[in-house]
Amino acid sequence: MKQGMKLILGLAVLLMAAASPAVHAGDAELSAESLKCLQCHGKKGSFFKLANGDSIPTYVNPAKYKVSVHNALACSRCHTDFSADAHPARRFATRDQYRMRASAVCRGCHAAEQIKAKPIHANLLLREKEGISSICTDCHDAHSGNPVAGGKIIKSEKQYCMSCHQHEMSMTCRNNEKIPLTVEMSTAEDNAHDKLRCSDCHYGFSSEEHPKRNFRSRRDYTITASESCRRCHFDKYTKTLDSVHYTVLSQGNLSAPVCNDCHGSHVIHHITRGVKGRTITTQKCRKCHPGVYEVYAKSVHGNALFNEQNQDVPVCIDCHTAHNIDNPLTLEYHEKIPQMCGNCHANPAIVSKYGLSTGVLNAYLSDFHGVTLGLYRKQREQLYKPARPIAVCTDCHGTHNITGAASSDPVVVKANLVKRCQKCHKDANENFPDAWLSHYKPSLSKYPMIFLVNTAYRIFIPLMGLGFVLQIFLHIWRYAVNR
């Protein structure tokens, strides 16, 4: 019995499903009048000429008309005054004038109260009060007359929104800039946001609500739109508040990049690992910093990235970070540079394959400049004492234009080095850069003089200390014995 009931119910559901398109699209025969009109208007190639020289095609797709909601209506129901016998001449100045006239015909059946039921229409009706007329055929095809979704059943919010936003449309800002509202949905698999609904980012918008927005400029809109990213990416958002980009933005420079500028809006890719992804990030920065990019591309790092697809070399975000980008001109940033370079140059896994010394960071940090830098940082942190700038890696090696010393002429390297030294030590001559031991720890093969001095003291000082201590103990012991 139960089995039987289930079967009947299942059949009923199937039947309803099969019947529903027929109900929606209608299956009625076209009227005799319509068929007569279609004898001419069902053929492509004829146009109606407007007074301004423009023309409107007079073609009506018979197949679409046949399945439209208006299929039962005769043509003259909308095109009043026209019939199988009468075809009066009409004159319109512009296409818009014609379309406004045509929309007025729709309103003959579809009263304002009926239209208002949909919020999107309600907004359009409000605009009419401001003198902006709504044209039905902008969204609804004139002869198929289907709902904007094309007669499809709307399954998702995205589908609902796209039924309008797939079309070419735009919004005008107060400065008369146009913001295109056409959304190109990515079908690519790497769209990171493919599971999101439109209203997840465009909050306040839904099938029920479509509030009116008014932006001063297109840039204003982009900046405002980026605010919605923080709803999910709050950690990244708070980081950006500490960045130089946000500082510049808050100072009123609207060109400063916001989320959308680097990440895009409707097509947001997953992070691409590897060389490809690293190369992509440099292109984002390039948009605003083309000069720096050009210099970087020619450097030993950039050259290896672009020409050798080397994954070890730093890209922009390795030093500058991606979200909390510091102002590189500050002392705080300057102080961090040795550690930044050291992330790779003190890491044997990275630099040893290129024959580079991993001791450079320690050699720097224990030398005059490195020690002073470390103490200046402490002074700034604990005594709030403004520190003077002191030479770090980039002051001698350059920043974006770093070249490999091994591949350059040693004479040129030294000549360049003297110039670098002279930036702080004004009267330095060509001997002076030799004071820097190329970041080598003195040894018998490298800088033996310094190595021998250190070794001699390293042997002599403990021996002498031991001798003193022995003599003191002997002295005390003898003194005690004598007593």
């Binding site: 005059f368 402490k378 001997n431 002076f432 003291y457 201590v469």
Partner: protein, 254 residues
């Protein structure tokens, strides 16, 4: 140096007022130099960093170190000039000069500590330990002065010296400083304060006076010369156990 001065029976004059002042100057400059220098050498130690921050930063520490260095250099140059001038004019003998007998004295004393000798070595105005201390500090001081100047004005000195001389000067300066510091901290402070014979403080360099008893024990040759007697005679009278172990060298300072 100072003429013997009978202050009662026991007190004798060992150092003149100038030497007392000179010692104070050396104390002042070296204490400042060690404090501001060691914290730079051992910059990675927490207490060194604490000190640098208490001194309101490394730039201040370096400035004070250089000022103290200038004072020390002045004292050193003055000392050498006076010593050379004094010896040249015959005002005093080269009592600080190292002699062959000093090594024998050292061996003798070590034998004494092990119980192989009856008594301490008989010394002149300055014994071998004092000489060792004096010369290491004098030679070290000159070295510190030179290398310190190179480190202070590196671009000036590299006009004539190779660039490598700067890290070499740094190696010498910091190592020699540690050596001098250890000589002072272990040896000098022990001898002047913690030695059972000096404790709580050997006041001679501050008052200029020394007891005859100590002179007899530590500098019998000088005492004999002062009193115009032979060492054996002096020790025979004052120190029954003592016996001359070596012939008396040339006369010490009057």
């Amino acid at each position: 140096m100072g003429a013997p001065m009978e202050t009662g029976k026991k007190k004798m004059r060992r150092f003149s007022g100038y030497r007392i002042l000179e010692h104070w100057g050396i104390i002042l400059s070296t204490v400042v130099l060690f404090a501001t220098g060691l914290c730079q050498r051992f910059w990675y130690v927490d207490s060194a960093q604490w000190f640098i921050l208490k001194m309101s930063g490394i730039d201040n520490v370096r400035l004070i170190h250089r000022c103290a260095g200038v004072l020390f250099s002045f004292e050193l140059i003055l000392h050498i000039a006076i010593a050379v001038g004094g010896i040249a004019r015959g005002r005093w003998g080269p009592s600080m000069f190292i002699k062959k007998g000093d090594l024998q004295d050292a061996v003798h004393n070590i034998r004494y500590y092990f119980g192989l000798e009856e008594h301490l070595a008989r010394c002149d105005r300055y014994d071998y330990m004092e000489k060792f201390e004096y010369w290491t500090i004098l030679v070290g001081g000159v070295l510190m002065m030179g290398t310190g100047a190179v480190l202070w004005l590196p671009t000036f000195f590299t006009r004539v010296l190779p660039g490598e001389s700067i890290p070499a000067a740094k190696a010498l300066h910091s190592n020699e400083a540690l050596l001098i510091f250890l000589i002072n901290a272990i040896w000098h402070i022990y001898n002047a304060i913690f030695s059972p014979e000096a404790f709580p403080l050997d006041t001679t360099i501050f008052t200029g006076d020394i007891s005859r008893e100590r002179m007899l024990r530590e500098h019998p040759i000088e005492l004999a010369a002062i009193e115009g007697v032979e060492v054996e005679e002096l020790l025979g009278n004052g120190h029954k156990e003592a016996a001359a172990v070596k012939p008396r060298p040339e006369p010490g300072v009057p």
